[in-house]
Amino acid sequence: MSETPPFLERHQFLIYRLFSLAGLVPVGAFLAVHLLTNASVLGGAASFQSRVDLIHSLGPLLVPVEVAFIFLPIMFHAAVGFVIIANGMPNVGSYPYVGNVRYALQRATGMVAFAFIVWHIIQLHWLGAPLGGGQFDPHYATSTAAVALQPTWVTILYAIGILAAVFHFANGLWTLGITWGIWTSPAAMRRANVISIVVGVGLAAAGLGALGGMRAVDVEQARAVETWMHEQLERQQPPTAEPAPVAAARKED
């Protein structure tokens, strides 16, 4: 009489645990690396460009790596996430406890971050100006990113997207520890909470710092630095010393 439950329900535990794990690695880890890489723009156009060059040194492997370790895990995490959101019933109005507010925010920031990521990728990869800002070109990393982020409304949406993603990650880190049974006592949960807050504040600073850094870039000078760096590379002589225009590549602050 009892039918076999559908595949997704039979493997519900495994799927939810993989969902939780994916949020930490690779998705969360990628978020951290991504924001810290971007924050390197605060060290000047050359510093950011050399990091982008490092990533792009994967050459033809880059796209498969991005698909396997970033795109698919994010899609999996988002798909399961939407199922979870659809099955829950937030009740912050009746039970306005901190944990419950965090539960609701975790779901809200997940949706905001997902919408932001979709727009962010389409804008920088393909559409450019029609979706605000412009397209990103890894050969001219700093200058094109700076142009893309110039419009104020783009900057505001980025700030919202970054903060949503960072909250989702930091809070998710804390709940992940409960889910897997890493912190079990209330005291351990409080200590873990402090760690999550530190991680969250740190990543938020890196993300917003990167955003501010990109906006402060002097596009002309950044482009000069990038061109100079490419010439150096073409002569098979990777620059050993920081090139002269670097220091001036950022507007005086």
Binding site: F13, L14, W180, T184, P186, M189
Partner: protein, 293 residues
């Protein structure tokens, strides 16, 4: 408003002062039959010192008249022990799940601007007025076998000893009264109310209900009870079976860590600790299963 009561006058018992006793306003969400429409009704009850919601309901049932004097069927509710141990009187009091027998009217009036609001629990099907059908709560306890299995009458001798530390750890969990507050407040625990289909036999309906229950979230109480009996030396003999249920459909993975359960539990059971321990046990269990098969 209540501070205006002339307590001494009440104690003298003379008729005039009695009439002056302030009235407690009560708003109740009623429902005549299972699956029927719900509707609000207002009542007024003379205030008495130290009233709780059960004594309030007793007066409402005795008068069976609404605020505007209409005769109505007495309001129905569940209760038994009147001291927060049977777990049967759970309802939404001023919008928050709690035990009617330990909810003091004076505090409720302060909390809700001079009115008491009563609703049936929202996560269980209403049977009538404030009475709900909590079968799913008990089915969850069955799913995790929340007992020590002793199914024969042989004398097996004394059981293993339990250290005072273990006992201290387990005792709070054993205080669960199956009230369902943790389920009512849990955003991940949603209502299941199957409706009898045309021509469906009672047995088929019951089987369908059972199936729906078994696919859905266990709830914090059952997770905590599973951890209680797994930590018991004799109860732990079927620990693996409980882990199977905890990691099965509707198991521990559904918990979203909102931690409302622990905030509303009238017995202050450390539910989130139980949930995290169950999470740890499930992690170990899953790895073991992967490598031991």
């Amino acid at each position: 408003m209540i501070r205006a009561i002339d307590g001494d006058a009440l104690r003298t018992g003379d008729g005039r002062s009695r009439q002056a006793a302030p009235l407690v306003r009560v708003r109740i969400l009623r429902q005549d039959v299972a699956g029927g429409e719900s509707y609000w009704e207002r009542f007024e009850v003379p205030h008495e010192p130290n009233m709780n919601v059960i004594s309030l309901l007793q007066k409402i049932a005795a008068a069976a008249r609404t605020q505007d004097g209409r005769r109505v069927a007495p309001v129905a509710w569940d209760c038994s022990c009147l001291e927060e141990v049977c777990g049967s009187c759970t309802m939404l009091i001023n919008g928050r799940t709690r035990m009617a027998c330990s909810a003091l009217v004076d505090k409720l009036l302060e909390e809700n601007g001079g009115e008491v609001e009563l609703r049936p629990m929202s996560k269980f099907p209403v049977v009538r007025d404030l009475v709900v059908d909590r079968r799913r709560l008990f089915r969850s306890l069955e799913r995790v076998q929340a007992w020590v299995p002793v199914d024969d009458s042989y004398d097996h001798g004394p059981g293993p000893r339990i250290s005072p530390e273990q006992q201290q750890d387990a005792y709070p969990l054993s205080e669960c009264i199956s009230c369902g507050c943790c389920l009512e407040a849990c955003p991940q625990f949603t209502k299941i109310e199957p409706v009898l289909r045309d021509g469906e036999s009672d047995a088929d309906f019951e089987a369908r209900r059972r199936q729906a229950f078994d696919a859905a979230f266990l709830g914090a109480h059952a997770i905590s009870q599973a951890m209680l009996f797994n930590s018991h030396p004799t109860g732990g003999m079927i620990a693996d079976e409980r882990m199977e249920s905890l990691t099965g459909r509707g198991g521990i993975q559904i918990c979203g860590n909102a931690q409302n359960c622990v905030a509303v539990c009238p017995k202050r059971i450390p539910l989130t600790r139980s949930i995290a321990r169950a999470g740890r046990a499930a992690t170990v269990w899953a790895i073991k299963k992967l490598f031991d098969r």
